[in-house]
Symmetry: C2
Subunit: 302 residues, 2 copies
């Protein structure tokens, strides 16, 4: 599981900083999360293969999270894409994109499938054999969701030597890995625990941008491996958080602590700050394992 930050600043794109967009590599998926203006150039810069993106998750319809989407969709067409593209985001997103394509008398030669979100409760929006994606309803000025990306628990690890020694037919190995007791060749029932080990711990990534300090997200993101939580401001500008419905670094760390996540990544910095180190030190007064998002930085989740 690997996260690449394409952009992690709020408001407006600048020469060397980009608005929100991230790529999450999880179980052979390449998922794009938010798509500020210029995201397609950032994808090229960090050599993410356009064709491998099949799912795009949009948190909300503020420009710094979505203005790059229509251009990316158009570029997919120009590059000859044929595979389906699934887009998950607030109601209105489909209208926003299709109006622009219509006015350009444009089209996509691939299928564009919108999953428009309206629920105020967390819901499962994508699932396959390996992963699940849930929404995380946030508290921002307009309808906004974060997203929780979870690996499904894998099969148990078979101790082949132990299984053979226990005289179990290979045809039963799959059942053992799935956690069933099986009979061996002598008709004796074998406890699966004796010949298998627990699966590797499944990892999860919670993306929460943009939001005011909002404790209702805690049960949803509880024990996540990594939490990305916006920290638009420092605590000294706390007075700006409430009217804009954003969080401070300290508030992000408080959520991380209460949700017992393993690691916190801060981002969505206001462009008023030149030095980001204060974000880290402020969050560390509350929570130990803090990292700073930076454009182009990658995080491996181990």
């Amino acid at each position: 599981m690997k996260l690449t930050i394409l952009g992690c600043y709020s408001a407006t794109p600048r020469i060397n900083t980009h608005t929100t967009s991230q790529v999450l590599e999880i179980k052979n998926h390449i998922l794009l999360i938010d798509c500020g203006e210029g995201t397609q150039v950032q994808l090229r810069r960090y050599k993410i293969k356009f064709a491998r993106i099949k799912h795009i998750f949009i948190s909300h319809l503020h420009g710094d999270h979505v203005f790059g989407l229509v251009g990316l969709i158009s570029s997919f067409r120009l590059l000859g894409r044929e595979t389906d593209l699934h887009i998950y985001g607030p109601k209105g997103l489909k209208e926003m994109i299709t109006l622009q394509l219509k006015l350009a008398d444009s089209w996509t030669n691939y299928k564009l499938i919108f999953h428009q979100l309206t629920s105020k409760e967390s819901e499962l929006v994508f699932e396959d054999s390996k992963i699940q994606v849930y929404t995380i309803p946030l508290n921002h000025r307009i309808y906004t969701n974060g997203f929780l990306f979870k690996e499904k628990e894998g099969e148990r690890k078979l101790d082949i030597n132990a299984a053979l020694k226990a005289n179990i037919n290979k045809a039963y190995f799959r059942k053992l890995k799935q956690g069933f007791d099986v009979e061996n060749e002598d008709g004796v029932l074998i406890d699966y625990n004796k010949v298998t080990k627990p699966p590797l711990a499944s990892k999860s990534y919670a993306f929460c941008s943009d939001t005011a300090y909002h404790e209702p997200i805690i049960p949803i993101i509880k024990n996540a491996t990594v939490l990305y939580h916006e920290s638009t401001f420092l605590d000294k500008h706390q007075n700006l958080c409430a009217p804009t419905k954003h969080s401070s670094a300290k508030q992000a760390a408080t959520i991380a602590k209460k949700a017992n996540v393993k690691q916190l990544i801060l981002g969505h910095y206001s462009t008023r700050y030149d030095d980001l180190s204060e974000f880290k030190s402020e969050a560390e007064t509350v929570f130990d394992n803090v990292e700073l998002a930076e454009d182009g930085k990658s995080f491996e989740f181990n």
Copy 2:
């Protein structure tokens, strides 16, 4: 009169090339022409003051000419703009922009004035005491206009010594500069030609992107100081021009020659070409004074 190319490639923005956008400085105006994705970052890169842009001209609603507009409008708001912004472009542009602002529950704290174009004839769309801007109806896949930016002819230059020698009262100097004969202090009528010189030649800039080879534009752009004409392809890929309604470098040069312009600037290159020098040499087989647009390049019109 100065032209700065912010982007001059077709199709998709890439790490080092940008889609169409230009800034024309003319008689104390800073005019923005087209606005592909990333234009606001290019404006920053070339240090164009956002606040000085009061008029934006959009040729057509293909993404590589307009996808940066909504982000620029949003950034103007974030930067506290208060002055009116006039936008000239095809019908549909207002709906495209206002839908996106509405979905973001956003607003502009300055007045956004859309001048939506529908005419298939050249029309005057902006005029003040110093300049005029006319549309140039082009022949592209969707409704498209180029724009002709013209300095108005200035006043005649007064030869003060000659006027004083002719015993003309200073109160009449303005009339002489405007081309009127006046009586001198002795009651003798003085021919304005004798004490004034013709005004400096007024300059004009014709922007023509995107279009197939289209002779009906020739009378509109006749004798222009500078013509920017798209050359998406080289003549060897002529077969691509007709279906896409684009031009080759040779066709652009043929228009320049027939319109008797002083200089031709080529641009809107297909991203298939790594070396642009062939565009120049191809056009020079037809027309002498050819320049290549390049991102960041400026042209002074003398």
